[in-house]
């Protein structure tokens, strides 16, 4: 827990998130129009989405399954009866004049997400609920000085609104929560988690209080589409509220927008008149009734989720907590690692994935999905090391070549003649040459300065251009140096 130092003492931020996650599906929640990203304007719009007179909603089975799957993944209660309500308000990107959502009876009830913090501790963030609802269309305000343009391609796409309890106490915790939630959604395959395309976005509720005191007045910062923005917006908003209170003011409950340029929040300009959404059950739909068998069927196909995977990596594969956390943070990373580790030394595999692959990906700004080195090729590289075909050092060189060219390690090693030399005769010649070239050092060693062994090994490896088997080099050097010294130590 990190406190905010104000002029009058320490303050604590209290943060809750309302996350909108676009359900992974082919078609919309209540119509057969496509959900694909980036279509021509209004080309993915059905008569239902445009709210033509007399059009009626019919629910998409896949979206229901995805909501249940997500609920199960969040360890949440699945409500076998849920109800779709209309949330009534006027906006040009809301063609019906109401959003079909779930108000008093959502499909998923309370659950929880475990987050790992930087200091190695964990915290549980409670999930209040998850409900299904329609996304709105898109308003384009910058195309025309007098007009707002409206594209309804997104209108009616299924969203899961996932609401957390106000259980986070710092912007870092909010970011950690979003990171873990995103990972869970991606593991489940229920949301692609693509924040740049708007598939996942969050409203952040922030208030401040003296540590342990009653909750303060909260402000909601709308529609943040990156984890960094969530952290920055929460941090700025908490500091702003502290300043307001310390200046003798009071925080006003309001909706604010985050300016990504300045890193500050500001109140929304269009202060709508009071909100009164007039929720009522949508009479075009019936209550959504699920049976246990439907839920159990989905439960049976749940993948292993980050927490369970992390436990297994630590307990069964012997990885450290830190390495395990890094690997499970993203479904693709975990899957990549598991492919590399399959039938191999897991710790060695983890090292190569985390240190070398992730490092290279970071440097080149690539995602794991775009890694130029396939998991099977990286596994083959680990095999080459294990078999003694190449040394660890050579392996780094091979890896760099693999990353650059996308080629497999075997052909790179063969082409560049990088096979480790384990042939004793060949190594003996090198060792002899090294000893012969440094008689003074040999004398010093024999005089008791045995840590000079490293020097000889280095020289021998250098002379072999790294290809000599270091174990053999070691053994031979030790034998020859000790031999010359006699056996009477």
């Amino acid at each position: 827990m990190s406190l905010i130092e104000g002029q009058s003492g320490a303050w604590e931020a209290v943060i809750g998130l309302e996350v909108h996650a676009q359900v992974t599906s082919e078609s919309k929640l209540f119509s057969g129009a496509s959900t694909a990203f980036g279509g021509e304007p209004n080309a993915q719009v059905s008569l239902v989405d445009a709210a033509m007179p007399g059009m009626l909603p019919v629910i998409n089975e896949r979206c229901v399954e995805q909501a249940v799957r997500t609920g199960l993944g969040l360890g949440a209660q699945i409500n076998l009866v849920s109800v779709f309500d209309r949330k009534n308000y006027f906006y040009p990107d809301l063609p019906q004049g109401y959003q079909i959502s779930q108000y008093s009876q959502p499909i998923v009830g309370s659950g929880a997400v475990e987050i790992a913090l930087e200091d190695g501790t964990t915290r549980t963030v409670r999930i209040a609920r998850l409900h299904l609802e329609q996304d709105a269309g898109k308003s384009l305000h910058d195309r025309d000085p007098r007009r707002t343009w409206v594209d309804l391609n997104r209108a009616g796409v299924a969203l899961m609104e996932i609401v957390s309890e106000p259980d986070m106490r710092s912007p870092e915790e909010a970011a950690a929560f979003m990171t873990r939630l995103r990972a869970i959604l991606r593991y489940l395959g229920t949301c692609d988690g693509n924040m740049e395309e708007g598939s996942l976005r969050a409203d952040v509720n922030v208030s401040v209080r003296r540590p342990g005191a009653a909750l303060g007045t909260r402000c909601e910062i709308k529609n943040l589409n990156s984890i960094r923005f969530i952290r920055e917006a929460a941090a700025h908003e908490a500091r702003r509220q502290v300043a307001v209170i310390e200046d003798g003011g009071a925080v006003e409950q309001e909706t604010r927008l985050f300016d990504t340029g300045s890193g500050t929040t500001r109140p929304m300009r269009s202060k709508e008149e009071e909100h009164d959404y007039r929720y009522f059950p949508d009479p075009d739909l019936l209550p959504l009734v699920l049976d246990e068998a439907f839920v159990d069927g989905i439960r049976a196909t749940l993948p292993e989720l980050p927490d369970a995977k992390k436990r297994r990596f630590v307990d069964a594969l012997g990885l450290s907590e830190e390495d395990a956390e890094v690997l499970v943070a993203d479904r693709d990373s975990a899957a990549y690692f598991e492919a590399v580790a399959e039938g191999r030394d897991a710790k060695l595999a983890a090292n190569w994935v985390i240190r070398d692959l992730f490092g290279a990906l970071n440097r080149s700004g690539l995602a794991i999905a775009d890694a130029p080195v396939s998991a099977s090729d990286l596994g083959a590289l680990v095999d080459l090391i294990r078999a003694g075909t190449i040394s660890g050092r050579i392996a780094r060189e091979v890896f760099e070549a693999m990353f650059e060219t996308g080629r497999d390690p075997g052909s790179i090693v063969a082409e560049r003649g990088l096979e480790q030399v384990s042939d004793t005769g060949a190594i003996e010649a090198i060792v002899d040459a090294v000893l012969a070239g440094h008689p003074d050092r040999v004398a010093e060693y024999r005089g008791g300065k045995t840590r000079l062994l490293g020097f000889f090994v280095g020289q021998a490896m250098k002379a072999s251009r790294g290809k000599a088997n270091p174990k053999t080099v070691n053994e031979l050097l030790r034998a020859k140096l000790d031999e010359g010294q006699g056996r009477d130590e």
Binding site: L47, A50, A51, M52, P53, G54, M55, L56, P57, V58, I59, R86, N88, F90, P92, P95, Q96, G97, Y98, T148, V150, D276, R278, Y279, F280, D282, P283, D284, L285, L286
Partner: protein, 492 residues
């Protein structure tokens, strides 16, 4: 056959004449097109589609020659302008939808056309089907072709399907589609001396019908005989996967059983439908109806529907609440008319203020109020609970009887403008039709006699959910016994 004879046919008779090759769909269409032109002062149509009618008729005659006749092959119909029709302006009689041409066809009208029906045009109605009198259309009121005995004051045809009722009564079409939310098929049918049937909620698809109150709206036929409504409903009804409230059960051959009679059935007479203000002629007609059914072998039993009195206020909360939300889409952005304002909110308010008529605005405001924070529980939720009780009353009654008989309306047709300044007085017209709407039950009105003023009166049959067959049998028994032959006289 002369034009007058052609327009005077029932659907069943026209079907037989077409099948026998005595007449063609084209002749039938031409006769109706001429009748519609002559009757323009009635203002029954918003959009006439004579060219479409002739094209439909030609296609129908061609199909018949190929031996492919459908259930309504060549039958000219009027389509209430609440049904969206592909390529033909569909307005819900509202200025806000003026000029709207849907790129789609409602399921019910598509079903009719696929059965061979010929479209004569789009029938006028109360704006968004709201009203009890057909006086709120942006395109002007529809007149009832009937006149009070000794009078010549124009009368309302009653309720949104009014035009449907008026157009069918005036021999402008052989049948018409209606929609019934709180009685909008049955009441105009009663006022105009024709037959109107509302099937069970979920029997006909709502897809493509401009929504008024989603949990109540149901399409149904208006025609000049019980058989004709049975034939039409058979074509209109059916499961539609595009409507989540459509019920996936087989559609029986309604026509096949209409003459099975009511012998051995128990007819429930609900005491609560005898209102203090029910006039003597209507009470007398109800007695006649009971007698007719008894003579036909049915056993009258007294039943109680104790929450009847509360159905009307519950309806007038639920329907406007749903309407306030259903009509939010009319915002001048994607279709219809826009009135530009100072900014977006002002544009919305002006568009909707100018686009909706007074009664629609009133209902939107009531509905918005009933759903707004702090009032939801007391109004909307309360009304939906009362609705459960109303529906339960019917369930209980159907333990003791097989169908119910009651008057359709508490009065005969009233004069245009007579009641429109007192909303509650106008709402009271629905008092006998609304309970079955709330319960979602099949209900129909069959003309059974004339009022003291010489205007048509209807008797209403209500049956169990998805038991339209019993409803039609009972209605047919009344029709046969009543021998209602009257039709509107020539207009002065």
């Amino acid at each position: 056959m002369a034009g007058g004879a052609l327009t005077g046919l029932t659907i069943a008779a026209a079907r037989d004449a077409l099948a026998g090759g005595e007449i063609s769909a084209r002749e039938l269409a031409l006769a109706h097109i001429a009748a519609i032109e002559d009757a323009r002062p009635l203002n029954a149509f918003i959009t006439e589609t004579p060219e479409r009618a002739l094209a439909d008729a030609a296609a129908s005659d061609a199909r018949r020659r190929r031996g492919e006749a459908g259930a309504l092959e060549g039958i000219p119909l009027g389509i209430k302008d609440l049904f969206c029709t592909e390529g033909v302006m569909s307005t819900a009689a509202s200025a806000i939808l003026d000029g709207f041409v849907p790129p789609y066809e409602s399921t019910v009208s598509r079903n009719l056309f696929e059965a061979g029906a010929v479209m004569l045009g789009k029938l006028n109605l109360d704006e968004f089907a709201m009203g009890s009198s057909n006086e709120t259309s942006h395109f002007g009121p529809v007149e009832n072709p009937w006149r009070r005995r000794g009078g010549n004051r124009p009368l309302v045809p009653g309720r949104p399907s009014a035009r449907s009722g008026a157009a069918v009564a005036a021999r402008l079409c052989l049948g018409a589609t209606g929609t019934d939310t709180g009685g909008s098929i049955r009441q105009p049918a009663a006022f105009c001396g024709v037959v109107g049937a509302k099937p069970t909620y979920g029997r006909c698809s709502r897809w493509g019908i401009v929504a008024f109150a989603s949990s109540l709206d149901q399409a149904g036929p208006v025609a000049r005989s019980v058989r004709d409504t049975a034939i039409m409903l058979g074509a209109m009804a059916g499961f539609d996967p595009k409507d989540s409230t459509s019920v996936d059960i087989a559609v029986p051959d309604f026509e096949a059983t209409i003459d099975d009679g009511v012998a051995g059935l128990r007819v429930g007479i609900p005491a609560e439908y005898a209102l203090d203000e029910t006039p003597g002629d209507i009470r007398a007609l109800w007695e006649d109806g009971i007698a007719w059914l008894r003579d036909a072998g049915a056993e009258p039993v007294e039943v109680s529907l104790p929450h009847t009195a509360y159905a009307l206020p519950a309806y007038h909360l639920i329907a406007p609440a749903e309407a306030s939300s259903n009509l939010a889409r009319y915002d001048g952005v994607r279709y219809g008319r826009r009135v530009e304002g100072a900014d977006l909110i002002d544009t919305y308010a002006r568009t909707r203020g100018a686009g909706f008529g007074a009664e629609v605005r009133r209902r939107i405001l009531i509905g918005t109020y009933a759903l707004s924070a702090g009032y939801y529980d007391a109004y909307y939720l309360k009304a939906q609970k009362v609705r459960t009780l109303v529906a339960r009353d019917f369930d209980d009654a159907f333990e003791a009887c097989d169908f119910l008989l009651m008057p359709t309306c508490p009065s005969d047709a009233f004069a245009i403008g007579e009641k429109s300044d007192d909303p509650i007085a106008m709402y009271l017209n629905d008092v006998l039709t609304v309970p079955a709407s709330l319960a979602g039950l099949p209900a129909m009105s069959v003309p059974a006699g004339l009022s003291e003023g010489g205007l048509p009166l209807g008797l209403q049959i209500v049956s169990r959910a998805f038991d339209e067959e019993t409803m039609f049998r009972a209605a047919r028994s009344i029709e046969k016994a009543a021998g209602f032959e009257a039709r509107p006289g020539p207009r002065a």
